[in-house]
């Protein structure tokens, strides 16, 4: 198990600095106590500062997936939910279960463009629009400011933008939240900050969302909270990890293209790859390399591969080259 190379969950392959791990360990010495609300406030302050919004807009939670679920539970009543397909799967699954009506807009290769008109056409009734931006799994920025403004103009629409990969893409709507009460941005420390095991997510909530969350209060796990505070005290450590990841992403992409795979431009820490080799995800799994097979929810022949350490990426590349060779004589193009 431990030898597996995990390129299936878009984690940061590098552990955070030792100060953060020590902070988490310190949290363990207080296990019989609930977290101190003052320390929760401190984290909110740090996050508000980091996101450049006032603290009242920041809502903490264990993992951003949990916040997305909460939003669907609370705001899908009396509204149709509009999402793109494919999208972060747990959110889709939750909407499928709880929404009175779910409308999914199919993204199509090779551009994966989301037409502004489609959303405005579909929002002629009260709607909750949830877009992961950049989108998982295409890695593409789907909506720009102009589009967001157009959607937000309709006061019957709530727009939730999932910015799980913001630190990689650099694109955010966080600064629009104070002006637009019907906008919220979801973020996480699980990705770029390398804290997936700590599970800290936060919502930058527009005014219309705040009421519903006024009673929403989570005592974060002590260790997670300490790790997050330490991380936010000096977030500069993420910079070189992000740079290396982006550099590796471009290298892996070029290598795959050389073999003949179609790889799409990404603004995240993962790549979307198209392949004609059937069951490639399973062949990689046989070789203890885990990638994400998207064919259950979308078009056949697409996998999503997270960017690992240079060494992990090399192992992935050499294995995929071998698999490709085996299939080349079977008549499959990459």
């Amino acid at each position: 198990m431990l030898n597996e190379i995990k390129l299936n969950m878009n984690e940061m392959p590098y552990p955070p600095p030792k100060e953060i791990i020590e902070a988490a360990q310190k949290g363990l010495s207080n296990l019989n106590r609930y977290t101190n609300p003052k320390e929760l406030e401190l984290l909110r302050e740090f996050l508000a500062d980091y996101s450049d919004v006032s603290k009242r807009h920041i809502i903490l939670s264990t993992g951003s997936d949990f916040l997305l679920r909460e939003i669907i539970h609370v705001f899908s009543k009396g509204r149709r939910v509009i999402m793109v397909n494919p999208s972060f799967f747990p959110t889709v699954q939750c909407a499928k279960e709880f929404a009175t009506k779910l409308i999914k807009i199919q993204l199509r290769p090779s551009e994966f463009n989301l037409d502004a008109d489609i959303i405005t056409n579909e929002t002629n009734e009260p709607s909750l629009v949830i877009v992961d931006n950049p989108n998982n799994p295409t890695g593409k920025i789907l909506i720009d400011r102009e589009m967001a403004e157009a959607i937000l103009e309709n006061k019957d629409v709530l727009l939730v933008v999932d910015e799980a990969y913001y630190e990689f893409s650099g694109a955010t709507f966080a600064d629009m939240v104070e002006k637009h009460p019907n906008l919220s941005v979801v973020r996480t420390l699980d990705k770029a900050f390398g804290l997936a095991g700590a599970r800290i997510g936060y919502l930058i909530a527009g005014e219309n969302f705040l009421d519903a969350f006024s009673t929403f209060f989570t005592f974060l796990p002590q260790s997670s909270l300490y790790a997050a505070i330490e991380a936010m005290r000096d977030p500069s450590y993420i910079k070189k990890n992000i740079e290396l990841t982006i550099k590796e992403r471009e290298r892996v992409s070029k290598e795959l293209e050389k073999i003949g795979f179609q790889v799409y431009p990404s603004t995240t820490n993962f790549l979307l790859i198209k392949t004609n080799i059937p069951d490639i995800a399973r062949e990689l799994k046989d070789r203890e390399i885990l990638v994400f097979d998207i064919s259950n929810q979308w078009l056949p022949g697409y996998i999503r591969v997270s960017i690992g350490t240079p060494k992990e990426n090399n192992i992935f590349l050499s294995n995929i080259k071998e698999i490709h060779k085996v299939h080349a004589w079977r008549g499959h193009k990459p």
Binding site: K96, Q106, P278
Partner: protein, 381 residues
Amino acid sequence: MEPLAKNYVGREYSMKKIGLIVNPIAGMGGSVGLKGTDGEIYKKALRLGAKAVTPKRTKELLSYIKSRKEISLVVAPGKMGETYVRKFDIAFKLIGQTPKETSAEDTKRIIGKMLNGGIELLVFVGGDGTARDVYDAVDSKIPVVAVPSGVKIFSSVFAVSARAAAEMVDAFIEGTDLTEEEVLDIDENAFRNNRLASKLYGYLIVPNVKKLLQAGKEASSIDKSSVDSKNEIARYIVKHMDKETLYLLGPGTTLKAIANDMGLPKTLLGVDAIYDNRLVGIDLNEKGILKLLKKYKSKKIMVTPIGGNGFIFGRGSKQFTPEVIRIIGRENIILVGTYGKISKLECLRVDTGNFEIDKLLSGYIRVVVGEKEEMVMEVRC
């Protein structure tokens, strides 16, 4: 009596009898840049030095089947089956004869014998053309497992790979529910000219294997069987049907599910008409449809896209012709399809042969994929 094969071990009574038939020439066009091996193309492929692909697929299939000990195969001699089976420790029995140059007729004839011999499942290796031959011979008598070995395969009846096919065989042995999947009639000549002309040819029954769960929190699975999804769509549609509207139901199992939910029969490949919970037309052609359209004021078409290529209105449809579509109007077209089918389509397609109608149909449109769920798809021409 058929002769017993050398590794026949006499334990057949406790084992499942499974037919295996291989189309030795399927998929040969691909290696030399041709599409399909219909008719004369096969000879051209040979001249160009095409190599057989089916042997490898068949070997892969056999090597991945886990329940080998519980299976007794019935195979045709030589390259239509026997050759590959001999290399594995698997009980088998020979049936029929394999000529030097094999044809569709051989496939059908041998399957006929297998059916008479009491096989419970038929596994075949080939392409869309082979699937049509199998459909002609098997129809819905027994379930099948289709192993893809063609260049470009469109029929949804096929497993994604030989390995996935092996899992379907194992699932069948263990016991699983069944579902219907499409067999398409691809016009290979048109396809070679870069036009995709296909229509629904029929349905074969396959073991309904749910996709394997993937590890991790993004674990994804098609959570409902396709049969359940169709029934869910049917319930939703029927609940919202208007008594004073004429509904023209196109081909396919999803539309059949809708009629069945109302307690009405439905032709699988034809267009049937419903008004006020009654059947008012069966297996209609254009003339029959136009007659009904004159009679009723409010009218709607219900269709499901063809799996794999997304055609909603294709050239050569004897029923929903450009004239019919013009009268009905875009806003009166109701599209339905399971999420499993629709999410796998890049877009929907129309090719009615009438440019204006194609233009009218293009743009974004909604497809009902569940009781509470719709997908917005682009229609292209």
